[in-house]
Amino acid sequence: MADLLSLTRGALCECSLLAREESGAGVFLLEFAVEPGGGTPEAPSPGQFYQVRCGSGREHMLRRPLSAHGFALESGRQKVSFLVEAAGWGTEKLCSLAPGERVSMLGPLGRGFVLDGVGKALLIAGGIGVAPLFFLAREMERAGVAYDLLAGFNTGEKYYKPLDDLAGSVVACTEDGSLGTRGLVCDGMAGYLAGGYDAAYACGPEAMMSEAAGACEDAGIPCQVSLDSRMACGIGACRGCVRQGTDGSNLCVCSQGPVFDSRNVSWRK
């Protein structure tokens, strides 16, 4: 268990909103500056997340987990960005923050994606799952890893335009056909997987990840997935985020994950 703890490098910090932009229907790109005074967190790696306190008072006692979407260090100041879909109380609250408003964050937390030894990768993003994978794509560019990215959205209005600026090739599809191919992101994945990838990375709705994982297993390509789970502590203390592993073990999403080897995950029906 000692190794797990060494991965929890999160610090509690206050962040103030620098910029907010609606990047797609109901999806916002939020850029925060870590304020000095509190803890000084380490830089996040793609796949790591923050536990964000979305409001004040006693009505909502749980923070909301959000994957790091981008990071920069500018003149000693940490900037962290998130891509957030307004899905309920907390995310709506965040998406309507005004620049200058502050929120408390705990992070970066968990284990991110592992790149070691990968030459060419396939990234598979479903909906808001693009948030950590975009960050991963940028990291791959820095690290000289070749990649292609499949991105699926409900509708073209949700498309994340900065995908156009990525160095890797991006194939987009939508369920309603309003942008790119009509269909789900995993449709015809088996074909893509023949493209000589030595690793796949997926994030999105449960059904999509499980399908992507299955296709990768069939193709013999290791796949890393970023799991979703409700969280309380975010640091491995409460066991609230636990999901089932294929070997009957418990997967602690916040501290052992959120990124897991897809073969270890027992998928929800």
Binding site: R53, R58, G236, N250
Partner: protein, 306 residues
């Protein structure tokens, strides 16, 4: 402001302040120690440990509710062997007294856990979680019945000299009777209250929000229920009480003390802010003063009835 000493004695244990971390919400202490200075809290109550390792309940295990949350962790833990080998030796690093919490399915299991933990050493005291199904008696929780509670407390008492706090559930018809039974059976103190049974359902998918369907409610929502339990048990027994349930700020601590708690435990609020216990400790002297007292002990049970 006069210097107020926050130290207290409870069942013979000296704590630097009355604010403890509640069982199950701060794991084995070390997870939280990464993000806050846990040595500043009065003590840490570890998550409940059982004889055998337990995998816990099906997911989802938590869900937020108004002013609180439901959990159905199901006592997931590494079992007492691994606890003694891996967790206990590192506890001294926390720099504050540590209480183990024990949970069992039979009276014998409680007895065994208690004697093994005492022998292993390193603990300031024991919390006895009686909100567990008594498998030998049809699965009804020990804590719901006075005789089952007595049996557990006696067994622990006979097998262990550590000060024992019996943690009760408020979901009984008359909690004071259960508290009294615990007192007679040898409890050194009470811990009040455990989570309140509850459930939630997703109105679209129609599924329960917890894999185990029902779970335990905690957080500010239950504070009024917890305060009443503390007040009733304080009056019914002469045992010192660790009060908790929904504590969010230092004023809540004063409320629990006035109702009869000597110390308090902070659980769910730690999720909203891992440093909450320390913020509370920092504000406690001023809150004690606002209540017109010069020490925490002066406030214990000092509610004025109109």
């Amino acid at each position: 402001m006069a210097q107020i000493d926050l130290a207290i004695d409870i069942a013979g244990i000296r704590l630097k302040n009355p604010v403890l971390m509640a069982s199950g919400t701060s794991g084995y202490g070390r997870e939280l120690a990464q993000v806050m200075d846990i040595s500043q809290v009065g003590g840490v109550i570890l998550k409940s440990v059982t004889l055998e390792p337990k995998k816990g309940n099906a997911e989802p295990r938590i869900c937020e509710t108004t002013g609180g949350m439901l959990n159905s962790i199901g006592l997931e833990n590494i079992g007492v062997d691994a606890f003694i080998d891996e967790v206990l030796p590192a506890l001294v690093d926390l720099g504050t007294p540590v209480f183990a919490s024990i949970a069992g399915e039979t009276v014998r299991a409680y007895a065994k856990l208690a004697s093994r933990l005492e022998a292993a050493g390193g603990l300031a005291g024991l919390e006895v979680n009686v909100s567990c199904p008594n498998v030998e008696k049809g699965g009804i929780q020990f804590g719901l019945e006075t005789h089952a509670t007595s049996a557990v407390v006696m067994a622990v008492h006979e097998n262990c000299d550590l000060p024992m706090f019996v943690k009760l559930s408020s979901a009984v018809s008359e909690i004071a009777r259960v508290a009294d039974a615990a007192a007679r059976a040898g409890a050194a103190g009470l811990s009040l209250i455990n989570t309140v049974p509850g459930m939630a359902i997703d109105p679209v998918s129609r599924r329960p929000r917890l894999g185990a369907v029902t779970g335990g409610l905690s957080g500010p929502a239950i504070k009024p229920i917890a305060l009443k339990a503390v007040w009733e048990c304080y009056r019914a027994t002469s045992l010192p009480v660790i009060g908790g349930g929904g504590i969010f700020d230092e004023n809540d601590v004063i409320e629990f003390m006035l109702a009869g708690a000597t110390a308090v435990s902070i659980g769910t609020s730690t999720f909203q802010d891992p440093g909450r216990a320390i913020t509370i400790i920092d504000g406690l002297a001023a809150a004690i003063e606002r209540a017109g007292a010069d020490s925490p002990l002066r406030l214990v049970g000092a509610m004025k009835t109109i």
